[in-house]
């Protein structure tokens, strides 16, 4: 018999290294004479999309289409430290470093642009890669023109930005002014059907609400939620490393099962954009928080379906079936 159940779990996740550990990112941006804008950052994009994110941020601040940007990433010869791609920190830290670099560069565009027009900042406008006087918009110079002019004088149209917030170690009671730079919150409801004959769990739907401050790239955010949740569900339902005398007995993908395309639920996402952090445009980290609620929400859903509390993962068919049999024996 199949029994329906649903479960909820809510998590909070302090991201960045936190606890007083030095945590910062440095980035620079240069407008080149050949109509490119080069961002230099050591942030590693491992698929989560930080490169897309920093281009969006810089394009927004510099008031120009993203098409012109290229990113030199993780080159120790030309980039400065951005810290690791870990701790769910790159959007917040490198996003902010790039935002600051872009703001400094925009200031330089105003500065050198106003020199070209022999005018003041309030009288000139910067838009779509062009600089002009408000009262004569047809008489403009482009960012590239400005870069060429500066180049003739041995200068570059560039700027650097860094982000270095302070956090504090918690005291013995776990209290401190600021242990982490900010917290991401996530609630997840999972609907399942448990087959009481086989112990198998069918995943139906996963509803995720995440307070992420600001979704700089909503599609990337959804990808992070789906990927993290499926890893969490793998942990919850099937992934189990079996070790005997120090030897892993199931070192293969056929013995150590991870979810495949037939195992995943349907998703629905709710992005809560509070813009309440000091991240770029209020954004917070979304990587690791997406994994944490899945297994407890699943266990709660199974409890709702069959009335059994599990305290060990994964909820494999054999473990669920055994528990159902024990419960049936107790109930008799």
């Amino acid at each position: 018999m199949k029994k329906y159940g649903r479960g909820l779990a809510t998590i909070m996740f302090g991201f960045g290294y936190g606890e007083g550990f030095p945590d910062h990112s440095i980035a620079s941006i240069e407008i080149k004479e050949d109509e490119r804008i080069v961002i230099r950052t050591a942030a590693a994009d491992v698929g989560q999309g930080v490169i897309t994110t920093v281009i969006q941020i810089a394009a927004e601040i510099l008031r120009i289409k993203p098409d012109y940007f290229e990113v030199i990433q993780g080159d120790t010869h030309t980039t400065k430290n951005s810290g690791s791609t870990s701790a769910t920190r790159q959007t917040y830290f490198t996003g902010n470093a790039v935002k600051k670099a872009a703001e400094n560069l925009l200031a330089n565009i105003y500065h050198y642009g106003s020199l070209e027009f022999r005018s003041n900042h309030p009288e000139i406008n910067v838009e779509d890669g062009k600089i002009y006087m408000y009262d004569d918009p047809d008489n403009y110079i482009t960012y590239w023109d400005l870069a060429r002019t500066l180049d003739q004088n041995g200068k570059k149209l560039e700027a650097e930005g860094s982000f270095f917030p302070v956090t504090y170690k918690p005291d013995q009671e776990g209290q401190a002014d600021k242990v982490y730079v900010a917290y991401t919150f996530l609630s997840q409801v999972i609907e399942v059907e448990v087959d009481t004959d086989t112990g198998m769990i069918d995943l139906l739907n996963v509803y995720t609400a995440i307070d992420l401050g600001k979704a700089i790239n909503p599609k990337n955010v959804e990808g992070q939620i789906e990927g993290g949740t499926v890893q969490g569900l793998g942990m919850g339902m099937m992934e189990e490393q079996v070790i005997q005398d120090g030897i892993t007995l199931n070192p293969d993908m056929s013995d150590y099962l991870v979810p495949t395309s037939v195992d995943i639920p349907k998703f629905k996402h709710y992005l809560v954009e509070d813009e309440d952090s000091e991240g770029p445009f209020g954004a917070k980290g979304v990587g690791e928080p997406t994994l944490i609620a899945a297994a407890p929400a699943l266990a709660n859903a199974v409890y709702d379906a069959v009335g059994i509390r599990f305290f060990e993962l994964p909820l494999s068919p054999s473990r669920v079936k055994k528990a159902l049999q024990e419960k049936a024996a107790e109930d008799e």
């Binding site: 491992v46 698929g47 989560q48 999309g49 599609k219 990337n220 959804e222 990808g223 939620i225 789906e226 990927g227 993290g228 949740t229 499926v230 890893q231 293969d252 993908m253 056929s254 991870v258 979810p259 495949t260 395309s261 037939v262 995943i264 998703f267």
Partner: protein
Amino acid sequence: MQITLRVNGEERTLDVTPYTRLLDLIREDLGLTGVKEGCGKGECGACTVIMNGELTASCLVPAPQADGAEILTIEGLAADGKLDPIQESFIEAGAVQCGFCIPGMVLAGKRLLDENPNPNEEDVRYGLSGNICRCTGYAKIIDAVMMAADKLKVEGSVNNGE
């Protein structure tokens, strides 16, 4: 020993040992590194190629078995610099994260659509189930293949003058 095979429409003749894997022939000898090695045991799908019309784990094929075969790798999918509709769909759906599984996923999706141009979601899920992905959670990959099916239908009706 010498074998001859067609890879992405081009005839290639190569010297191989009897125990060279087709995967290594493609990556090392032909330099087509879009074909990935994941598990090396035929379990993960990262090394997928289409060999004589069938999805094949190239890590399990001794190169001599590919003598005379017709092989399509991810590099052969785009024609004249234009992406295949299924590649476009992967981009538009946001289906790619780290990208390691994606060449195999795209080929699995293509093979599925070649056989069944009107798949429902269950068909797509089943068609991709031999390819493991660790970062995306599959949802957007499934969306991408469904999207490609729609695109190919529109293209087909345009080509037929409908």
